[in-house]
């Protein structure tokens, strides 16, 4: 069942003094995300991936087209209700935390807006449950400052934050690009686990192999336009667009030494 649908979504930024120049960051993009489905949104740097993610999260509004959630235009859904079901985790864990406050503030931020009625004990048990579901030890991470946590712990905490709400869709923007290889696998497995539990994920990455690992379907983006889309296995096995083939070829193979051509 389709949960999120983008229909001809366009984003034009006004740049330069007085917005005289126009920059089309996203152009006529259409795709959808089913209930509990993982969609990989892959493209090179500057291709408009984050812009799409931000529009889906309603941090930016499209200049054209529309975004539907559960069949309804998202601009018609109360923002508060929407945020209860759609949350995001960003690229850079270090800048996702306000450096001067304790890290668990990102969790408590949710409380006022969404759970004003819970008392302290109820809230803490909810927080602890969320942390445990991302394999974090509450005793170890609560009360710490961001610089006292590792990148992987930060990312998990951000995912835990999203899980405090009963979300149906997670927008993961370059979630693991900043992590080292082993932590990366842990976080990827965590996402796979969440998918098992029925969470839909819009997985944004510039890394083809990461996109491959997790996703059901793949959308390849180039300069703001969708150049190819389909089931991940098909896109990777038989890329139909020249750009996709080029991208696949340019992935360095670990078992192959670099040679000049």
């Amino acid at each position: 069942m389709v949960m999120l649908a983008l229909e001809g979504v366009t984003k034009v930024y006004q740049v330069g003094a007085f917005g005289r120049r126009k920059l089309t960051a996203v152009s006529e993009v259409s795709f959808d995300v089913g209930e509990g489905e993982v969609i990989a949104l892959i493209g090179e740097s500057g291709s408009g991936k984050s812009t799409i993610g931000r529009m889906v999260l309603r941090l930016a509004s499209p200049s054209g087209g529309r975004i539907l959630f559960g069949g309804k235009d998202i601009t018609g859904i109360r923002e508060h209700d929407y945020r209860r079901e759609v949350q995001g985790v960003f690229q850079d864990p270090f800048s996702s935390f306000n450096p001067i406050f304790r890290a668990d503030r990102v969790l408590h931020m949710i409380r006022e807006g969404f759970f004003p009625r819970l008392n302290n004990a109820q809230w803490m048990s909810k927080v602890e449950a969320a942390l445990e579901s991302v394999s974090l030890d509450p005793a170890q991470v609560l009360g710490r400052y961001p610089h006292q946590l590792s990148g992987g712990q930060m990312q998990r905490m951000l995912i835990a934050r999203a899980l405090l709400l009963d979300i149906r869709l997670l927008v993961a923007d370059e979630l693991i690009s900043m992590l080292d290889a082993s932590t990366r696998i842990d976080v990827l497995n965590l996402l796979a686990d969440l998918k098992q539990r029925g969470l839909g994920i819009l997985f944004i990455t510039h890394d083809l192999s990461l996109g491959h690992y997790l996703s059901d379907r793949t959308v390849i983006l180039r300069r703001g336009e969708v150049v190819e889309t389909g089931p991940t296995t098909e896109v990777f096995a038989a890329p139909s667009h020249a750009y996709t083939r080029l991208m696949l070829e340019s992935v360095p193979r670990l078992h192959q030494k670099w040679e000049s051509k």
């Binding site: 945020r83 931020m109 969404f114």
Partner: protein, 279 residues
């Protein structure tokens, strides 16, 4: 935070500057309480030099200079706090909103900032004074505040602009926080030291501005201030008559307050910026 207090109290500039300011403030608050006459009353022999009875001597008319000085300190602090506070409030509000909201609002606010920036404050004041008369210190502070915020707005806007694109702001939005809450709870705390320094500079600027206005006769005439004392001293030729005790105390007082504020500012800068810390 605790660490910063620790460094602040070990910093000689901060401690020295604050001591001077607090000393003068206490003097201004306490000393006038012991006088049983007003600062403009003719209570002593005319033009008497400093003595046991009149610590700073008297004016040509026999007014108590020490009492005028300490009462003037009150106005100086009042104008500094009010004028600096108003400027800080306007400048920070405009800077935060323009920087955070961006777009058309930003352009409008930017234009407003530039207009106020190029407006000749003195000319406007002369006109205002002629038509309305700036009678009280709060009115003067309001005027000073209304003209000294533009640089604050610019600086705060620039900093807000760079903080706004940080992802923790997006995360706050995703958590359902509104614009004003985000500015107050996420953005402003990140620049708290900067905001404090800004206020100190505004305070000093307002004190100087007020002294200038009083001195050239554009100040509130019905109160006592350090600038007005100097204005009177010059007006009644204290300089030629050799009544140095009439104009030296207010001159030194203003210099001391503003100087101490700037020294404190430099010291706090060192405290907040560990790279400048003198260890």
């Amino acid at each position: 935070m605790r660490e910063q207090f620790y460094f602040a109290f070990r910093n000689r500039k901060v401690v020295g500057g604050l001591s001077v300011i607090l000393g003068l403030l206490v003097l201004g608050l306490v000393a006038p309480l012991f006088a049983d006459y007003g600062p403009n009353e003719y209570v002593g022999p005319p033009a008497a030099p400093p003595s046991g009875e009149f610590l700073f001597g008297t004016t040509t008319f026999g007014q108590d200079v020490f009492l005028q000085f300490t009462t003037g300190l009150r106005s100086t602090f009042l104008v500094g706090v009010l004028g600096g506070g108003i400027a800080a409030l306007i400048g920070m509000t405009i800077g935060f909103v323009a920087g955070y909201r961006g777009g058309l609002l930003d352009e409008v606010l930017n234009m407003l900032t530039n207009v106020v920036l190029v407006l000749p404050a003195l000319a406007v004041l002369i006109i205002l004074h002629a038509y309305l008369g700036i009678k009280s210190i709060p009115a003067q502070a309001l005027f000073i505040g209304a003209f000294s915020w533009p640089w604050v707005a610019r600086a705060v806007r620039a900093q807000t602009l760079s903080l706004r694109s940080r992802e923790f702001v997006d995360l706050a939005r995703l958590s359902g926080m509104g614009t004003m809450r985000i500015i107050r709870r996420e953005i402003a705390p990140n620049m708290s030291s900067y905001l404090l320094l800004t206020f100190i500079l505004l305070f000093g600027g307002a004190v100087l501005f007020a002294a200038t206005l009083d001195f050239i006769g554009l100040g509130p005439t019905e109160s006592v201030s350090l600038g007005l004392m100097m204005n009177n001293a010059v007006h009644w030729s204290a300089l030629h008559l050799g009544l140095w005790w009439w104009f030296v105390p207010p001159g030194l007082g203003i210099t001391a307050i503003v100087g101490a504020l700037y020294v404190t500012n430099v010291g706090l800068d060192e405290v907040f910026n560990p790279r400048l810390r003198e260890m």
